[in-house]
Amino acid sequence: MRMQLRNLRQNKNFKYLLSLFIILILLGVPSYMWTKSNVSTLAGRYNSPMSPVIMIPGSSASANRFDDLVKTINRQYGEHHSLLKMTVHTNDSITYTGSIRPNDTRPFIVVGFENNKDGYANIKKQAAWFNSAFNKLKSRYRFNNFNAFGHSNGGLIWTYFLEHYFDDSTITVNHMLTVGTPYNFEEKNTSNRTQMLNDLVKDRNKIPTSLTYYSVAGTQLYTDDGIVPLGSVDAGKYIYEGHIKRYTLITLTGDKAQHSDMIANTQFIDIFHQYIVGNGINNSGNSRTSKKVPDPQP
């Protein structure tokens, strides 16, 4: 044994082996300390390159609502996003259609509801159903950040979900985009606040402050998109403005600015792709900075 050791020391590669050993020790010490401090505060979901786009359709629409949108995005931008559709039933059971391709870092996930009726009471229920679907997704796919999209009442479900169920210590919502979300239902005048708007404004502190939110409103003839008044979409500012990192209201007019058509509107698709699907470069930068941005409201 000693003989071998002496031979080894005479080996002219001994210094390389030694330096290899030293490098490993040098890297080992800080990583040991890091592990000890990391595991105690471990965020659980780590290391996952997946950042899905989670979408909620509006009332009376099923999980198939965004099939065309996803198809258009894939075709127009030459991308290959996979699509998973979930329908949550009234008894909390979930049926799945479609699947997420294993290497897909930006899949689309649509969560629809068996009971997709309108009304504040139902939105509360839908938010609870969405929460159970979201928890399933979280434990199954282990993503640590995602983008949110909601059409019409889908945006209300998102807001209610963010205020009542979402826990931002393990998971980040980067960008949210909603289209024609009626924060004040059919009410044109924002001084007449509905019960729901009051409730949503009251609980706004629970919405993660790091969120960037784009709200799209459509108008035909200056006042509404045919169903939702501009004032009702605009009322979202009482919830988000001044609380989250960025709040932007975009008004769409012209061809296909009608409430239900908007998700097929060319301008909308550009906005959707830019802010929600993103092109890797923008996104990696964003998620990096979002990690470091301190809370504006301590």
Partner: protein, 465 residues
């Protein structure tokens, strides 16, 4: 086509006679070693094999340089990188972006496009063997690969699918390169100035001799590119296997162990041929459901001991079988540094040592080369499997906890189990044991490779290839 592959045999007898003298000098320890060395020599005589070896040596400097850049990219700049997590980062965003851009550019045009270099080499050497215009064959091959890899995107007018250009497209590139070389043989006559060895009067004449194969190659490439979505099909088998490995779960520990071993073998074999397998050596991005269950268990109980799924890819394969990159390459490097007297091997090992610490093995696998190398296939499979079995036994006997905690990308191989178990010293001990095992497995094969090299060195230019 078959004739093409075996034409190298013509030289077999001649070579065997020529090297008979050298054979006298080489001593074999046992029958098995002798048989293996002789078998390798036979395989090395195959034209296809010689072309592959030469091509790999051609891409080695780029792969080595790229692997150093890759360290910076994944470990220092990466979002979840090892050093980013362990050490504090720079806070200046502008400098960070600048470094990131430089690193991206350097990486994409070194290790990121080795397949382009490989197809050039493969076509050039094939054409040269048949005394055709090798320069033009190589350049045609580059164009063909880029055509096949062209991304028909409306967003960016001139772009390529990056996956096929890197290490993953190596096999595809080499095979395509040889086919293009063969097209040059079929459809053109020998280039005149190559035959006579003097500057020709008509460059134009040379060009026209090769015009037919150039056009044919490019047309075949465009047909291929239009009909088949290369990126999709190159990933399809992997995706299928991935889906299997992540979706199908079993509660029985022993079927789990079997499953992990099978997917590891698949990964190792695919990596050996320059493709990619289920498990990536850099990071564990494709964590399966079982690992998630383990992590949740550990976070609840504040311990990794008795985690419900002891034999997952992260507890066995990632923690114990990827030291230095796929195939326990760190063991090979240490083995070379200890026993090899071959100058080339030593140079490669010294240079590739640092990237290999961070599990980036592209330098060694193209420089030795390990890829497609008959001798190294055995330890390339055996060393990781032995380490995994050792780890499985140690976990079963409760000698160490399974690694369940997430590990940053690019964590040095021997530290993965240590960090993954939240600093269990037993796990570190077994990691060191795993290095020793893999070094011992690699040592006899390093010696054999040196003997093969002494008898017949494919790296030396001999004219015919």
């Amino acid at each position: 086509m078959a004739a093409f592959f075996f034409e190298g045999y013509n030289f077999l007898e001649y070579h065997l006679k020529r090297i008979a003298g050298v054979f006298m000098k080489v001593q074999f320890n046992n029958k098995l070693e002798e048989r293996l060395v002789r078998g390798t020599l036979k395989v090395q005589k195959l034209l296809i094999y010689r072309i592959i070896q030469r091509t790999l040596l051609l891409i080695f400097p780029f792969a080595l340089f790229g692997s150093f850049i890759k360290i910076i990219q994944t470990i220092v700049l990466g979002k979840e990188g090892f050093l980013t997590d362990v050490f504090p980062t720079f806070n200046n965003d502008y400098i960070y972006r600048l470094i990131e851009n430089i690193a991206n550019a350097l990486y994409n045009l070194s290790l990121g496009w080795v397949s382009v270099i490989a197809i050039f080499g493969a076509a050039k050497y094939t054409a040269k063997y048949y005394h055709r215009d090798d320069q033009l064959a190589g350049i045609t091959a580059i164009s063909s690969l880029l055509i096949m890899d062209y991304a028909y995107s409306k967003v960016q007018p001139f772009s390529f699918h990056p996956n096929i250009l890197g290490m993953r497209g190596l096999l595809f590139a080499i095979v395509s390169g040889m086919i293009i070389g063969w097209i040059f043989k079929k459809f053109s006559r020998p280039a005149p100035n190559l035959e006579k060895g003097q500057p020709t009067t008509g460059i134009l004449e040379r060009t026209f001799i090769s015009l037919k194969p150039i056009i044919i190659s490019l047309i075949i490439a465009i047909i291929f590119s239009t009909l088949i979505n290369v990126t999709y099909y190159s990933e399809a088998p992997g995706n299928f296997i991935n889906a299997l490995s992540t979706e199908y779960t079993s509660s029985n520990n022993w079927t789990q162990l079997g499953k992990t071993l099978i997917f590891s073998i698949y990964t190792l074999i695919m990596s050996f041929f320059g493709w990619s397998g289920t498990y990536s050596a850099l990071g564990m991005e494709k964590m399966d459901v079982l690992s998630t269950i383990n992590l949740n268990y550990a976070l609840q109980k504040h311990t990794a001991w008795n985690a419900p799924n002891p034999f997952t890819s992260s507890t066995l394969y990632h923690a114990f079988a990827t030291f230095g990159g796929t195939g326990s390459i760190l063991g090979l490097i240490i083995a070379i540094l200890i026993v090899s007297k071959d100058k080339d091997f030593q140079t490669v090992a010294r240079w590739a040592m640092i990237p290999s610490v961070f599990n980036i093995s592209s330098g060694v696998i193209t420089g030795i080369p390990v890829l497609f190398n008959v001798i190294f296939l055995i330890p390339f499979l055996l060393a990781p499997l032995a380490n995994m079995l050792m780890a499985a036994i140690a976990i079963t006997l409760h000698l160490m906890p399974p690694s369940v905690y997430p590990v940053p990308v690019g964590t040095p191989g021997p530290l993965i189990a240590f960090i993954g178990t939240n600093g269990s010293w037993q796990a570190l001990g077994f990691s060191i044991l795993a290095i020793i095992i893999s070094v011992y497995i690699y040592i006899p094969f390093v010696k054999m490779a040196a003997k093969v090299k002494l008898l017949d060195n494919p790296g030396i230019e001999e004219g015919e290839v």
